[in-house]
């Protein structure tokens, strides 16, 4: 095994010391944040500014149309469809003669075409204005309606499942959803990204024509495992750096936000009555939410979840990385590899879809079966585990799934080793999967 560890070291350090690696690892979180911030900014900036003149002969809407940041309504005199552009308005809105009935046609004439967002926004404002007026006519105040609304949204539903011995366990849908989906997504990303890295890494010996030289010093299997483990280690290093970064950023944000919220809470406590009953309701609501989160966090068996995540993360990586390595050993450039990697990426994508479903239906037969099959178990089982072990997932199911996954990656590693030892020395024609399988059952 000494030679394998030599190979692992070389693979690891040659990648980790690479300038590209350092730059991508450090920039990724930054780029990610920028992307989100940028797209939000752009979507806000992109809202068109509309200055609308309203022709309302009945006077119904005069004070009822709400302005927003980008759409303003004015009620000028002496503006009609001929001169509204000259007077500096982007559009003219003509109200029908009789209002208060639904289904009336309102007309908006504009110089430039109006986007869908703005159109819907204007429609909503007209609806709101009508609703307001009708409420007024019926004698109901808007502020009364609002406060009723807020107070009625106070019900919290506690969900419990049947457990052993007639006890019940709390179940937390949102948390289960979050953990299940999150870990499933992480595993999905890892397998695709690092699978491809293994593929390219394995091709390195072929493109550099050094395969035979290395294989005269070590067994092909040692070379393959060295690459899989070495590249996996690079992946884990990258992950850890990102996680640390995220924590640092979150901690930094926390430091900035905390003093302000602390002051707010204190201020609310000191002055008992704040403007409107709504605020005190808000305070108790946020207190409740914090309590809920802490409570949810306690109900989760973090040790089990983390342990299982680690197991399925590694198991899934080993399972698929071997297959990618097998493909990498028979091709010499990435384009050629696409037809061969298809049968590998298909199950990964399929598993993701099943996982997304299993997170909502952890007990469906599809979810159960897919949490056993090694192809999909890493993602699907994590989705189900978040709902509780041994509740949704009995211990025996967990063990069977783990056992099958171990068997699975032992098998794919063995298979890949056989394909690798022949493929690595083959130059020229690209084999099909059928041919590759034949090599597996042939002696060296």
């Amino acid at each position: 095994m000494n030679k394998t560890s030599l190979i692992i070291q070389r693979e690891y350090f040659s990648r980790v010391r690479n300038k590209t690696f350092i730059i991508t690892t450090l920039l990724m979180p930054l780029l990610f944040v920028l992307l989100i911030a940028g797209s939000t900014y752009l979507s806000m900036k992109g809202k068109e500014v509309l200055n609308i003149a309203v022709i309302d002969n009945s006077g119904y809407f005069k004070n009822n149309l709400e302005n927003s940041s980008n759409i303003t309504f004015s009620f000028p005199a002496g503006v009609d469809t001929n001169n509204y552009i000259n007077k500096g308005y982007s559009a003219i809105l003509i109200m029908p003669k009789s209002t208060g009935n639904g289904g009336n046609n309102y007309l908006l004439r504009s110089k430039k075409s109006i986007g869908i967002g703005s159109k819907e926004s204007i429609e909503n404002k007209i609806d709101a204005a009508i609703e307001n007026k009708m409420l007024q006519d019926a004698g109901i105040q808007k502020s009364q309606l609002d406060s009723i609304h807020t107070q009625s949204q106070d019900a919290t539903l506690n969900t419990v499942e049947e457990g052993d011995n007639n006890s019940t366990r709390e179940s937390n849908q949102w948390l289960a959803y979050g953990i299940g989906y999150g870990s499933g997504f992480l595993i999905y990303l890892t397998m695709l990204i690092y699978g491809m890295m293994v593929l390219r890494g394995v091709m390195e010996e072929k493109t550099n024509r050094i395969a035979e030289v290395i294989v005269s010093s070590v067994k092909p299997f040692q070379l393959m495992m060295g690459k899989i483990v070495g590249i996996g280690a690079v992946g884990i290093t990258q992950f850890l750096i990102w996680i640390v970064f995220i924590f640092v950023i979150m901690f930094g944000v926390h430091l900035f936000v905390s003093p302000e919220t602390m002051q707010q809470v204190q201020a609310m406590q000191q002055s008992g009555t704040m403007p409107g009953a709504a605020s005190s309701i808000n305070a108790s609501q946020s207190a409740q939410t914090i309590y809920n989160i802490q409570h949810m966090a306690d109900t989760v068996n973090w040790g089990l979840i983390l342990g299982c995540f680690l197991f399925y993360f590694l198991g899934g990586y080993l399972f698929y990385a071997s297959l990618f390595a097998a493909v990498g050993s028979v091709v010499e450039d990435v384009q050629n590899s696409q037809s061969l990697t298809l049968p590998i990426t298909m199950p990964i994508i399929f598993s993701f879809i099943v996982m997304a479903n299993a997170v909502q239906n952890p007990d469906s037969s599809l979810a159960v079966w897919c949490s056993f099959i090694p192809f999909s178990s890493p993602m699907v089982m994590m989705a189900r585990i978040a709902y509780g072990v041994p509740g949704t997932v009995p211990y025996w199911q967990l063990f069977v799934s783990m056992f099958l996954l171990i068997g699975g990656f032992l098998f794919t590693t063995w298979l890949a080793g056989k394909i690798y030892r022949t493929g690595i020395l083959l130059y020229g024609k690209k084999p099909t999967w059928a041919q590759m399988m034949k090599w597996a059952f042939r002696r060296a």
Partner: protein, 311 residues
């Protein structure tokens, strides 16, 4: 004393018999030539000797014991025909890596690398990347990594391809040196003139079988055609004789003669001496290995073998 002994080695693939019952022995200190046309099975044979492939049948005896790839690999150096290096790695680092893979400790490896780099004038290359080297330079480096760990058996497959005469000479000298110091060298090539220069024993393979096996001298003797070259000072009076046929003569009074059965070289000399002509030189023309190779392999459909199926 034999360092390598192959006994009835066979390797069959689905479509052909790559190596079909080959046996030979190589003595220590020999420079051994493994020859044959493309597709003869040379590379497959070499891969079995280096433990990359395993024979379907037959035994390999290395250094007196049954060949054990795991342990014996450290005593063998192999420079395959398809040889390259990690382009992005630094040269010193790469030599170290390959040496360690062969089983050398870091310390020993460093010492040996320094020794060879000095010997072949490569000291300044240590921190350069492989991709910065010219072809000749990288070949030199590959040679160094092959012999670094002082293997008992060194296998070189087309070592001179791409080398200019200067570097080729350098490598040739090193090969002789290594043989003198006790290493055995297996040399596989198509360049017959190099084989004549360097090797003392050869095996010619074709279609997976062994066709010739012997020292270079012996093989040439086996294929000699009793042809002699005689350089005369002046034109002879006559060249008709029962002892020989004249195959060729040029303006410079140089004759190529073939001695007939029952006669010998002395008869040729006597013939011209009796005419009183001064003989400037007289020597046997042995066939070149190139000619022997072509004669043996011609017409055997060697090249199209890979397209044939097993009968």
């Amino acid at each position: 004393m034999a360092i390598l002994s192959l006994e009835h080695i066979k390797k069959y693939y689905a479509t052909q018999k790559a190596v079909d019952d080959i046996s030979f022995t190589i003595d220590q200190g020999n420079i051994f030539g493994l020859l044959g046309p493309n597709g003869a099975g040379k590379t497959t044979l070499l891969r079995m000797i280096t433990g990359i492939f395993y024979p379907d049948e037959g035994t390999i005896i290395f250094d007196g014991k049954r060949f054990d790839p795991l342990n014996d690999i450290s005593k063998i150096g192999y420079m395959p025909e398809e040889r390259g290096l990690y382009k992005k790695m630094k040269i010193g680092e790469q030599a170290l890596y390959l040496a360690q893979l062969k089983g050398l400790s870091r310390h020993d490896a460093m010492q040996k690398i320094k020794y060879w780099f000095e010997r072949l004038e490569m000291q300044s290359w240590w921190n350069k990347k492989i991709e910065d080297l010219s072809k000749g330079m990288s070949q030199k480096l590959q040679f160094v990594t092959t012999v670094l760990h002082e293997p008992k058996l060194i296998i070189l497959d087309e070592p001179f391809s791409g080398l200019d005469p200067l570097n080729a000479n350098l490598i040739k000298d090193e090969i002789f040196n290594l043989a003198q110091r006790g290493s055995t060298i297996i040399f596989s090539t198509h360049r017959m003139e190099q084989v004549e220069e360097i090797c003392n024993h050869i095996v010619l393979m074709n279609l997976g079988k062994k066709i010739l096996d012997g020292t270079v001298k012996q093989v040439k003797q086996d294929f000699k055609e009793n042809a002699f070259s005689i350089q005369l000072a002046e034109a002879p009076l006559s060249i008709a004789s029962d002892a020989f046929d004249v195959l060729h003569s040029d303006d410079n009074h140089k004759l190529t003669v073939k001695i007939k059965n029952g006669y010998r070289s002395n008869d040729v000399l006597l013939y011209f001496l009796q005419q009183g002509i001064t003989i400037e030189s007289f020597s046997e023309i042995l066939p070149s290995l190139n000619e022997i190779f072509i004669r043996q392999v011609e017409g055997t459909h060697a090249v199209t073998r890979s397209f044939q199926k097993i009968a």
